[in-house]
Amino acid sequence: MAKKGEIIIEESFCKGCGLCELFCNKKSISMGKIGPGGFPIAQISDPETCNGCGTCGFMCPDMAIEVYKYVDGRSL
């Protein structure tokens, strides 16, 4: 099973509200890593399960998350 998606979290933007963790359908994101500000921020706990739906990115109030979806050349 190949990876379907990938998210990139900009650590200096994240304020640790936890909305991405709440809305992630695949539970790929968890809070806990201490960021540069000294408080817990979001991190990718399970990168294999991410399917690149983009929900975390659109619901992030601080624009910290960028979401990429892998497009297989054969399926197009």
């Binding site: 936890g18 709440l22 659109f58 619901m59 624009m63 998350i65 979806k69 297989d72």
Partner: protein, 255 residues
């Protein structure tokens, strides 16, 4: 067996082009989601060069300053009056005013209702978080009954402070109003519905049908003194029964 396996990465969720990032909102504030939504809709409609955003006072101004369009600031309250003036001097520009709930319901209520009654061809975006967010969460016109704030330590009572105010329903019966609706961004599904309604509200101005008002429900974790994830539940259980979602007025053509 060698097949072509050209796997490409496609950017699903792009960071909007804001002038200053990160935004200065508190952790878990929904205003960031709302400004992102505004930016998306403006970009999809292709009006980025024409749009002018009028900010007022309060937290809603922080995002208005950051958006990568022309912005205009004013005192706390008469955002709709400034927007009317700007629309009259530049009729081809796309004008929308961003206001908080206290700004629209208390200090700016006169200019808000007067602008709606005149049927000015502008759009007003309200962000309703049921308190005055920037000054410490005092009682606002939209505070729910029984809600504890620094100025109502035993909860809002109807005898002392009256009932919560509903901006879109208030102006919907006026003839100059083309569109009045309320949405929320507290779940991904509601966010998409709000985006659709916001787009309709903006299209009413492009079709020159009249005044449009769209209200967002928002969370204020700092002043409600609950965690950002509990705010989602608070909106679902307490705010939605008081502030119903949906369109209250949507006219197709001018009478």
């Amino acid at each position: 067996m060698s097949q072509k396996t050209a796997i490409t990465k496609k950017l699903i969720c792009k960071r909007p082009t804001f002038r200053m990032l990160p935004l200065g909102f508190c952790s878990g504030c929904h205003y960031g989601i709302i400004y992102r939504l505004l930016d998306e809709v403006i970009e999809e409609m292709g009006i980025k060069g024409d749009a002018i955003c009028i900010g007022g006072g309060g937290c809603s101004m922080i995002g208005a300053m950051a958006m990568d369009i022309d912005t205009f600031g004013g005192p706390h309250g008469p955002g709709t009056a400034i927007a009317s003036a700007l629309k009259r001097v530049s009729p081809n520009a796309f004008i929308f005013a961003v206001q908080g709930d206290g700004e629209q319901g208390a200090i700016g209520l006169g200019s808000f209702v007067a602008t709606a009654a005149r049927g000015e061809n502008i759009t007003v975006i309200t962000m309703n978080n049921a308190c005055y967010g920037m000054t410490g969460g005092q009682l606002a016109p939209t505070t729910l009954l029984g809600m504890v704030t620094p100025t109502t330590p035993e909860g809002r009572e109807q005898v002392m402070s009256g009932y919560p105010m509903h901006g879109p329903e208030l102006v919907a019966p006026l003839k100059g109003v083309a569109y009045a609706a309320r949405g929320t961004v507290h779940t991904p599904a509601n966010r998409q519905k709000s985006k659709k309604m916001l787009k309709t509200a903006f299209q009413k101005q492009q079709q020159q049908l009249g005044f449009g008002v769209f209200e967002f429900l928002s969370a204020c974790p700092t002043n409600w003194k609950i965690s950002p994830t509990d705010c989602i539940q608070f909106i679902e259980e307490k705010m939605l029964p008081e502030f119903p979602l949906g369109q209250f007025k949507n006219i197709e053509r001018k009478e």
